[in-house]
Amino acid sequence: MPLIAVIKRECDTCQRVVPVLAQIRQRTPLELHCQDDPTFPEALGGSLDDTTLDRSWQLRIETVPTLIRFEGEREVERIVGWDRAAWERVAQQSGLGPGLPEFQPGCGSKTQEPGMPERLALKHGDLALHSRHIEVPDPEDAIEVAYDRGWSDGLPVVPPTPLRVARMLSGTSRSPAEVIGIVPPNLVECTVEKVAVNAVLAGCLPEHFPVVLAALEAALDPRFSMHGLLATLWFSGPVVIVNGPIAKRIGMNSGGNALGQGNRANATIGRALQLVIRNVGGGLPGEIDRSVFGNPGKYTFCFAEDETDPEWMPLNVSRGFARGTSTVTLFHGDGVQGVSAQRSRTPEALARSLAMGLCAVCHPKLAEWSNAILVVSPDHYAIFKEGGWGRTEIEAGLREALRRPGRDLVQGAHGVEEGIDPARAEQMVDKFNEGGLLVVRAGGRGGLMSAVIGGWSAQRKKSEVQTVTREVGR
């Protein structure tokens, strides 16, 4: 067959080239495939039925009409849309389409409709998924099967069908077989495909997937110590802070209720990370996860920083990344503690007030111990900004306000046994190690309050347990 054309009835250009197809067929054998209606075009007695899109997929059709010339089995040339000169060249005929304009663009092939490339890739073996396939007798039972098999964190999961996983993989350019890292506690290799299966379970969209991959890579960075974070008696779990244009692109919330419920990206990215640790790594509560209490953030804890003020230095920039870079920052965090500071009107007074809230992290008498995140609300930020304070001044002001006399903190002081080494009684002592307090902007307007997220007590071992920032790839 020297010529093949692929068309669809709902395409205006396809309808306009019907007389051209008739012209061609008078002199050359022409095989017609129609994607939506094999009775089209009636004037030519219809087409071969390609409503399954199998032939279109094999021919890699992206636009209709497409005209292809073959020599034997080999494709020689193709043209998409209507372009008289190109059609005459491909068909090796002249005088085609009198009365038609010189050029008219085509329409999208039905093979390119949302979800269709993945469906066809699976059907035709162009995408091979290597995870074990588990047959469920009835789709209605799928969520219960996931519970029974221990895949859930307690909330219902989205059943990871091959098609859903294939769609998730379309969110990245990385190979499904690529190994992302070694997941604790069982120290097993984790592929991009396994992350995709868990991202489906968590409810992610494909556009969330690059953020999930970056978050997992950060968690598996040895500096982060994911194994210890999982195993600890302490409350902490991974907290994911997203910076850069990706946050807006995927609709993350950095405003009102940013640390709460209601946003799909915030909710599912953090959950996907936890599900990988659970399902791939084998990290289960009551087993290697020895947390005394845990915290609600161990279901998911992910939010974006508010970068709407161009004068503000975002967290990732303060950690060495170029402005405009999309990153995730992983911190070992507990729950949220609110700090009310309604009467401060100067940056200095506000820093002192917020510092009092921060002193409670881990224990008011412990110092250079757990780290913390201070999430500064827009109304508090407005006070800092009006006073001429940016990130540098806020961090310095807090550091100064968080430096306390050792005599108030040593073990036994004020009748409390908890405390720092008695040998430090005459020193001024910082609450946090250098770099141990992350200042982030988020939240909604209307409240003179900020949020403290206390950190894991093992953060005091600063060479072994570190906050990790990683760029989000494709």
């Binding site: 799928a142 895949w151 069908t161 097993v188 290799e189 072994e464 347990v465």
Partner: protein
Amino acid sequence: MSTASYQMLDPTAELAPQRRSRRAPPQDMGAATIALLSISKERSNEFFDTVEQRLLARGLKVERFAKPTHTKPAPEPILQAIVERCQVVMVGLAD
């Protein structure tokens, strides 16, 4: 209600755990070397010092090991050394 069959992909590492029966305790503890593996939490040395003293007082042989940090898994060389040199291991934390 649909009755079509449905396929899901396994989100786990698909490891096949090998069930092994518990090893019998040594018949003669006097001939065994007991590993004391500290996971290096606060005061775990204090805890194991006491345990070691009690074991030595009974005439038992003891070797001390420690993970470099409790925040990460034990390095392979430490596990291998315990396997090669000891018949019993006690893993401990403290706080």
